[in-house]
């Protein structure tokens, strides 16, 4: 059982891509970093965008086959994932928007 959304997505990626645990976690972490996101605070919708638009490039560069199919399946799994128990409430953008809009 994955502890949070990052663990869950990394686990699914490991199973579908053939990358080992370390490589799949590192690749996902790098994709999130390139998208300007923090693995522990990114939301499901943000993970979906990263998997759709950033992760394919990272997987391609690691010689993974059928990247599009893997990412499409991953997005489906993220949509169906249980709500993140960690909550992901420390969203910096949200805090600054709230401060300006209050």
């Amino acid at each position: 059982m994955a502890e949070n959304l990052f663990d869950f997505v990394a686990q699914q990626l490991e199973q579908s891509s053939g990358l080992d645990r370390l490589a799949s976690r590192g690749t996902l972490r790098l994709a999130l970093k390139n998208a300007g996101l923090n693995p522990s605070t990114a939301k499901q919708s943000q993970y979906c965008v990263v998997v759709e638009r950033v992760l394919p490039g990272e997987l391609d560069s690691r010689g993974v086959k059928e990247v599009r199919a893997i990412c499409a399946a991953l997005i489906e799994q993220i949509h169906n994932a249980p709500a993140d128990p960690s909550g992901a409430t420390t969203d910096v953008d949200g805090i600054f928007d709230r401060l300006a809009g209050g």
């Binding site: 522990s40 943000q46 638009r53 910096v92 953008d93 600054f96 928007d97 709230r98 300006a100 809009g101």
Partner: protein, 249 residues
């Protein structure tokens, strides 16, 4: 401060109090820590600025030292609150960031308290090592805030490209980082002013004016972060319509 600095300080005091009270209202509704911390930062800054201004507005020489000291004491919480805010918002997971808050608090309390014990109530004496503790204590937290916001701005540009952040939010990080950098500039200009005061027993007109200008720039930045006018929102968003402060994420 015979020149323009006191005018800038007076406007800054009023604006800081308005922003601080508005954030206090927001904090009472949301019960969230970031707005409570920022509210305290601005309210204490405003109170401190007003205390510093009293001797300049009421020309009674005997008020100079007590009000200056009261202004210094009232300013102690401000850098601590901005350090707490920076930790809360940008570095909540980093253990080292807690030490930044302990260090800031210690530097300020020892700097102000120590200089009072040795009889330097005004805190203008650069030759006093305790002055440097206080100066570091109120400069480093703003530098930290500015750098963290700049780092977040760079990350938000990446999110912006993917449609994960709106332009106003992205711009807010930049403005907040500039606010931090202007505070550092103010701290540096203060050094020159205090050096002048030590040698001439008067503030330099040039640095006095520069301080006033930097205070006004600070206010403009704060205003754009917390009360962005519609024309500015349209300018940054690059659209004719403004959807409000909170963007979809």
């Amino acid at each position: 401060m015979p020149g323009g600095a006191w005018i800038g300080q007076l406007i800054a005091a009023v604006v800081y109090l308005i922003v601080g009270l508005r954030l206090a209202g927001l904090a009472s509704r949301t019960r969230e820590r970031p707005e409570r911390l920022l509210s305290n930062l601005f309210v204490w800054s405003g109170i401190s600025y007003l205390l510093y201004l009293v001797p300049l507005i009421v020309p009674v020489e005997s008020l100079w030292t007590p009000f200056n000291f009261a202004g210094r004491v009232a300013y102690i919480p401000a850098p601590i609150f901005i350090a707490l805010f920076t930790r809360e918002v940008f570095r909540s997971e980093a253990r080292l960031s807690a030490w930044m808050i302990y260090a800031t608090s210690a530097l300020l309390v020892v700097g102000v308290g120590g200089s009072a014990i040795v009889g330097d109530f005004e805190g203008f004496t650069l030759g006093n090592p305790l002055f440097w503790l206080e100066w570091t204590g109120y400069t480093i937290p703003f530098a930290w805030a500015g750098l963290e916001a700049l780092r977040q701005h760079r990350k938000s540009l990446r999110r912006l490209r993917l449609g994960l952040c709106d332009r106003m939010t992205c711009n807010r990080f930049l403005l907040w980082s500039l606010f931090g950098l202007v505070q550092i500039a103010l701290s540096l200009v203060m050094l020159e002013m205090y050096a002048d005061f030590e040698s001439n027993n008067a503030f330099s007109a040039f640095f006095d004016g520069l301080t006033g200008a930097l205070e006004l720039l600070s206010i403009a930045l704060i205003w754009l972060v917390f009360f962005p006018p519609r024309f500015y929102q349209r300018l940054i968003s690059g659209t004719g319509a403004v959807d409000g402060a909170a963007g979809e994420r």
